[in-house]
Symmetry: C2
Subunit: 120 residues, 2 copies
């Protein structure tokens, strides 16, 4: 599982790290770059802080009869968070320094999601 997360991070330029987490905010596994720690970016804390909000977004989509959520993207001044939902309990998130390589990150998440899900 760590190897898959490492692969996502190493192939997504400007990624600080990737984490597989439950919607309860508890991380299953993560891989972060050395630079992210040096820059004081805490990938796990970022994913955890958003995880409870993701439940709210999922509930909203459900009440709107939009079906299951599959992806969430949040872009802020100092970082971008890409999320791929794996199932009712787990998601995988990539935290990036910026949105320049957003497309590559999203593709890496999607193409690796089935393998991550298989390991749960």
């Amino acid at each position: 599982m760590i190897e898959i997360l490492r692969n996502i991070v190493e192939n997504t330029p400007d990624a600080h790290g990737a984490v597989l987490m439950g919607f309860d905010g508890i991380a299953v596994a993560q891989h972060c770059t050395e630079d992210s720690a040096a820059e004081g970016v805490d990938v796990e804390s970022i994913a955890m802080e958003f995880s409870f909000r993701f439940i709210e977004l999922r509930n909203a989509a459900e009440s709107l009869e939009m079906g299951e959520l599959s992806d969430i993207t949040i872009k802020a001044e100092k970082g971008t968070v890409l999320v791929r939902i794996l199932d009712e309990e787990y998601f995988v998130a990539v935290v990036m320094a910026n949105a320049k390589h957003f497309g590559k990150g999203r593709w890496m998440l999607r193409s690796n999601a089935p393998a991550l899900h298989n390991e749960l």
Copy 2:
């Protein structure tokens, strides 16, 4: 303002509509396709249901010192919502039937955001 929203919708394939809304869920202006009404898609209700959650995401980003949120994307089975935040009070959202033309929608939102903001 309606003309700008119409321009966004007409140039984003598979868009149901666009709405300029306050974070309190009250719409300022909107433009929807005729098809969206026929298909029972209520663009204003979708944006309103998510608006309160957007405040939560903004608060999370703030507490994580990620700076101001600028974009949010939510992809579900039966629809995709693209959001561009205009300022502390307002955002513009495009509701799409799918994510196929996500890139075009995002570009239309970004390139028209300054003009929409000017009219507020």
